[in-house]
């Protein structure tokens, strides 16, 4: 039934397209005219999550401009069609449809958030155009509820649960702890995903979980639960969540004399964390992230300098993720041999060992990247690059 419906829909859509294209240049393989390759960029350039979208877009634009300046891809220049989705689900879906049907792009880059990416996906699936998101970390972006892979959807950032796995391995392996406690945000899928992955991995590798407590986004007083956790004497505390509550938790934990290391995920990434927790309290706090500007790897340093020269500021994780996405597209197009959506999709699936500034990346069977995470250590409130941790 559903198939029938989508078949009818795509027929209607293509009819509309043919009518629209009548008299114009016809390009059957999709992706612009004979001397350009059209790339659709769908980002949150205004609206409530505009900071993510704008930063990703800056990275993408920089990469694509560099590629064009160096002769383009497959002898053609990239033609970038950027459309603002205004941080809205419906708008993200509309933009995706527009880019796929009217602009006939070869690939869709973005949106930034998991929700908007999911909204933009059906248009990509129906039109069989690969969509790559550089920052949608939810586990179900590339895989649907039944565990079936969404054929044309890819992401280049690791999933929420993957961070939980890596932090559990970091706590056991690098820090050498054997028991832990969890304090997780029960109102966010993100935090729950991290907590579950941490719990499973930690237990499976011989660690003991002493206790598990929960809080809700918007809470301000954590002293009661922290007093509970302190009584179980954990060696390490895993606190998946966002910087606002985490900042208060770190401060109140230290005020209660709970001085054990605190671990978390990329939700910690914000200068507000230091402001809220207080620099003097932010020691022995580790979190996984996509990227650190303090990384000393050669390609990262080069990227930092180029970014600084172009935008006169130092790049953040979203800039780096966007930049990598641009180059991954180039890499995949070259391996595909021509600007054809179907061949591009296969090339993306076969990505193995792509070297980006956010780590070495391979795409797995679920269209998720297998890549290293960057571990950041807080020293007196300053995020400091500790190491890159490779998946086992």
């Amino acid at each position: 039934m559903k198939k029938k419906l989508s078949a009818v829909l795509s027929m209607v859509l293509s009819l509309g397209l043919l009518a629209g294209c009548a008299g114009g240049a016809t390009s059957t393989s999709g992706g612009g005219t004979s001397d350009t390759i059209k790339v659709g960029v769908n980002y949150e350039l205004t609206g409530e999550v505009a900071t993510y979208g704008v930063n990703l877009n800056d990275g993408v634009q920089m990469a694509l401009e560099e590629i064009n300046a160096n002769g383009g891809v497959l002898g053609k220049q990239l033609e970038i069609v950027t459309v603002d989705n205004k941080s809205s689900d419906t708008e993200a879906a509309n933009v995706s449809t527009r880019l796929a049907t009217r602009d006939k792009v070869v690939a869709l880059l973005g949106p930034a958030t998991s929700g908007n990416t999911k909204a933009a996906s059906p248009a990509a699936m129906q039109n069989k155009i690969p969509l790559i998101s550089g920052s949608a970390t939810a586990d179900d972006v590339t895989v649907d509820a039944n565990g079936k892979v969404r054929d044309y959807i890819f992401k280049t950032c690791f999933s929420d649960s993957f961070q939980g796995v890596m932090m559990a391995e970091f706590a056991l392996g690098d820090l050498g702890f054997t028991n832990a406690a969890i304090l997780a945000d029960s109102s966010s899928d993100y935090a729950q995903g991290l907590a579950k992955a941490f719990r499973d991995t930690f237990a499976a590798n011989g660690g003991t979980l002493l206790s598990e407590e929960a809080y809700q986004a918007g809470d301000k007083d954590f002293k009661a639960v922290l007093t509970n956790l302190k009584a179980t004497n954990p060696e390490v505390l895993f606190v998946p969540g966002y910087y606002e509550e985490v900042g208060l938790i770190v401060r109140q934990a230290r005020e209660l004399g709970l001085n054990v290391p605190i671990l978390g995920g990329d939700g910690y990434e914000s200068p507000k964390l230091t402001e809220i927790a207080g620099a003097e309290n932010l020691n022995d706090v580790y979190y996984s992230s996509h990227y650190s500007p303090n990384d000393t790897a050669e390609n990262v340093v080069a990227f930092n300098e180029a970014f600084n020269a172009k935008y006169s500021k130092s790049p953040d994780a979203f800039n780096a993720l966007g930049y990598d996405m641009g180059y991954l597209l180039k890499d995949a197009l070259e391996r595909a041999g021509e600007a054809d959506t179907e061949k591009l999709k296969v090339a993306l699936e076969e990505t193995d060992g792509f070297e980006g500034v956010t780590g070495v990346l391979s795409i797995d069977d679920n269209h998720n990247p297998v890549k290293s995470v960057t571990i950041i250590e807080m020293i007196e409130g300053v995020p400091t690059f500790l190491k890159k941790l490779d998946p086992k």
Binding site: A214, G218, D219, K223, A224, L248, R251, E255, I276
Partner: protein, 294 residues
Amino acid sequence: MEQIIQQLINGVSLGSIYALIALGYTMVYGIINLINFAHGDIYMMGAFVGYAITTFLGLGFIPSLIISMVACSILGMVIEKIAYKPLRNSSRISLLITAISVSLFLQYIMVYFVGPETRTFPNVLESNRITFFDGSVILDTKNIYILVITVILMCTLQYVVRRTKIGKAMRAVALDKEAAELMGINVNKVISYTFAIGSALAGAAGVLVGIYYNTIDPLMGSGPGLKAFVAAVLGGIGLIPGAVFGGFFLGLVETIVSAYGGSVYKDAVAFAILIIILLVKPAGLLGKNVKEKV
């Protein structure tokens, strides 16, 4: 044992904040039978005034507390004059709806002007830790400040209501507005004073919370505002000692619920208490059952 003492300290600090906000609620209700849902947002405004004064003027704790109290009392009087006074002879439901509108108005006018993001309150109070039982129980000096200031404000309020002329007028208006007017009391003035005092208490609570949790945002008033309402009803709405009792009781209950692993349910428990009180003893734990005047 140490854990229980630590949890008691946590509960009392939380409770003193609820008590301070509940005092303003209860006063306004006692005088004009209005549940002022905008009270929690006046508390938010107080926090922002304190933030502005400490951040931009660089003043210390005591001046910012006083200025914030003054600013909030003016705001409270203005709100009363503009929003509530024209409706004084209308039904109570229209007053209630107006109060909710004022609350939302204050929240979103602040979102518009200062943005929705969380701000960090400057650290104007020296925070020292006092430890007991070999460091297993920790008492922050900030807790003591908050408790002491709450107690001072409560005693001042009790003194004003019981011993001064304006307090006497307030009690008279609370008892019977028309009769008080006949005896030559300026009811409008008394109501204005009530709002001024109640809002000043909210302003003080805002600054104290800003210092205690060191984060403030335009929507911070709604949660504690509702909790303070529960506290006021719990102790007996309209009663000043009732508000204080209710505040501390609620703070301790929430802490106990969290301490027994139910941190996610602590709000549910607070509101369940409200429902139970309204069903079983609507006059509140300290209130006497008085027949409604007909």
